[in-house]
Symmetry: C2
Subunit: 344 residues, 2 copies
DNA sequence: GGTCTGGATGTGTACGGTCACATCCGCGCC
DNA sequence: GGCGCGGATGTGACCGTACACATCCAGACC
């Protein structure tokens, strides 16, 4: 215990100061201290100052456990997340954390490692054991909603990055629109044979992007082909590319995210194919690295931080009892770089 | 409130069941229930079963706030993090979360957005207000240690990814060694003019990698030149490349992380330079995408998940009072791909 | 058969806050 | 001058749990 030897002067503080200690020092009742802590009006300025001085003097910190016990409010927002190592979820979480902290809430984050029901349920269970007051679901999978119902979570929740199919609880980026924009861009460049490498089927956003893709193709009366179901990783994009390029019966690819697009471009290089000369590629997300891929990737940008902030705003509003909250979707944006070109 | 209308049958539960409710249903005293919850021995199997049944029947969940209040143990581990959107920290955090959860701890994560003292202090303050029992510092910056001392954090803490300069509290990847491996690899390929693009100077790991780089050059009696101080981003690597390649008085680059290496390779393309034909590049971290860069990046792999796990193991050991814990560094590993070649 | 022993279980209290309610006091009003 | 009023402050109870201690009881032992 280096800390002990470094400052042996200070007496061992057996117990942290509590509200009554503060009251004693300030010469008021503990209730008055409590009032100060809770910004209650009707305190004489002089008294207020005395209490504040006492708090500083003792280095008093309110005991959150005690407060939570008596108010039965944990001041905790739960986050059920998947793939937190990815740029999108990670960015949203960071924004959520900041917004929550500013509002006096703390976060409890848990990762689900598989999309199996048991895993989701166990994650939710963990969060509920902490008496969360609200729930944010990031990168939602279809089964999450079942679990939320089954476990009677019973707190306000929002879902990020979903499709809007559950508008009551989702704060959504219009993924369908984003996918349409990407697809339309390729169509406008003259591509008629477009491949889609999708995310895992049980991911709502993967599904949404696929829908957008298919609808846009349909609107243009183009032939649709079965999308490839991937797993979001660059490696998948690579191996899928190795497979698909053996036939090369397409001139453009819309990848479900930037990582898979990266892997696919890698495969193109191995086949000696030029991007965008031979194959055009569009990604999704606009991770910061996408601008530096070879070639810089045309992709669909999502404002992950904005989504995170709005999620918290929405939940806090609901906790406060506000009704009529804005659920309008966040609009994605097509970022055209150098991985797409007019079909030759 | 859709939830309300969806299942209106259930009566409004005014109060969650507590330990006494369980006791009443099970026909035992509340203390017996408490014993069951805490796995105390000396309970008649029959009684045990009755209590468990009652718990299930009522859907009882222990109130963590009450428990924390009486035991004065928050069962919370604080995480002070920076750059959580990056692969390394994000991976470590995920591992930490899993390990902590398995051990019955929850995590409280806070991000510091700037490396200023005030920001660090405010982050620590936030964590302390939650009565954390231990602290993990991720991606540490020099000033963090000052803050930890100033605020008398007073709980066990470990630092991830540091240099070993503070071996008491750091669980370190041998960054110096990793940097030496990268540099030596370039030297062995015949490079004598090697550039280093470092991370921000106030990051301990950036400093460590720079040290390793300089020492290895020194050992080989090669000319050292001032490293460029970057900010970890791909964009920085790109713009640094645009600048440096105008002179091109080097044949190899050791980048402080994979992102900056990516940006640098982008700059090389713009100059019409081949990697590794004209310039060899080594990164650091081995993010999953690195294998699919153009060309696939030679880099130094760190086992971020392992670090995270060991951090928790270390802290839990200390909380339990174990002494003599292993602080041996995690060894990084050089992953040779196609961005490095013998000097021509 | 009384005493000792230890396993199984029950009772009182404390943890640190907040809430509802009580009290005190000075002021304006009839 | 007694009364009502409202601002400022104090008192008691309670939130749900764990710990220390007390109690009960059956079996071993002399």
């Amino acid at each position: 215990m280096t800390t002990e030897t470094e400052r042996p002067i200070e007496p061992e503080r057996v117990r942290a100061p509590n509200i009554r200690d503060v009251a004693r020092v300030a010469g008021v009742s503990y209730q008055t201290v409590s009032r100060v802590l809770n910004d209650s009006p009707n305190i004489r300025p002089e008294t207020l100052q005395r209490v504040r001085d006492a708090i500083d003097e003792l280095g008093y910190r309110p005991n959150q456990a005690a407060r939570a016990l008596v108010t039965s409010r944990s001041r905790t927002i739960g986050v059920l997340a998947a793939q937190t190592v990815h740029y999108g979820p990670a960015t949203s979480i960071q924004a959520i954390e900041t917004a929550a902290r500013e509002a006096g809430y703390r976060l409890s984050i848990t990762n689900i490692t598989s999309s199996e029901y048991a895993s989701i349920k166990s994650g939710l269970d963990y969060l509920m054991s902490q008496a969360i007051e609200a729930l944010v679901v990031i990168a939602p999978q279809v089964r999450v909603f079942e679990a939320i119902n089954d476990l009677q979570v019973g707190v306000p929740f929002v879902t990020l990055e979903a499709t809007g199919m559950n508008t009551d609880h989702s704060l959504w980026v219009d993924q369908v629109m984003g996918a349409r924009m990407a697809t339309r861009h390729l169509i406008e460049l003259g591509h008629t044979e477009i491949m889609h490498i999708s995310g895992p089927q049980d991911w709502i956003e993967a599904e949404a992007r696929m829908q957008g893709f298919l609808r846009e193709l349909g609107d243009a009366d183009l032939r649709t082909r079965a999308p490839i179901l991937g797993d979001w990783t660059a490696s998948f994009g690579y191996y899928a590319g190795l497979e698909l390029l053996r036939y090369r019966d397409f001139t453009a690819v819309f990848a479900g995210n930037d990582q898979m697009a990266l892997g696919f471009m890698h495969a193109c290089r191995e086949f000696g194919l030029s991007v965008p000369g031979d194959i055009s590629i569009v990604g999704f997300d606009d991770v910061p690295e996408a601008a530096h891929f070879a070639p810089p990737l045309t992709t669909v940008r999502q404002n992950f931080a904005e989504i995170g902030r709005r999620a918290i705003a929405l939940l806090l509003g609901e906790l406060r009892g506000d009704t009529e909250l804005s659920h309008e979707p966040v609009q994605p944006e097509l970022v055209i770089r150098q991985s797409t070109a007019r079909v030759s």
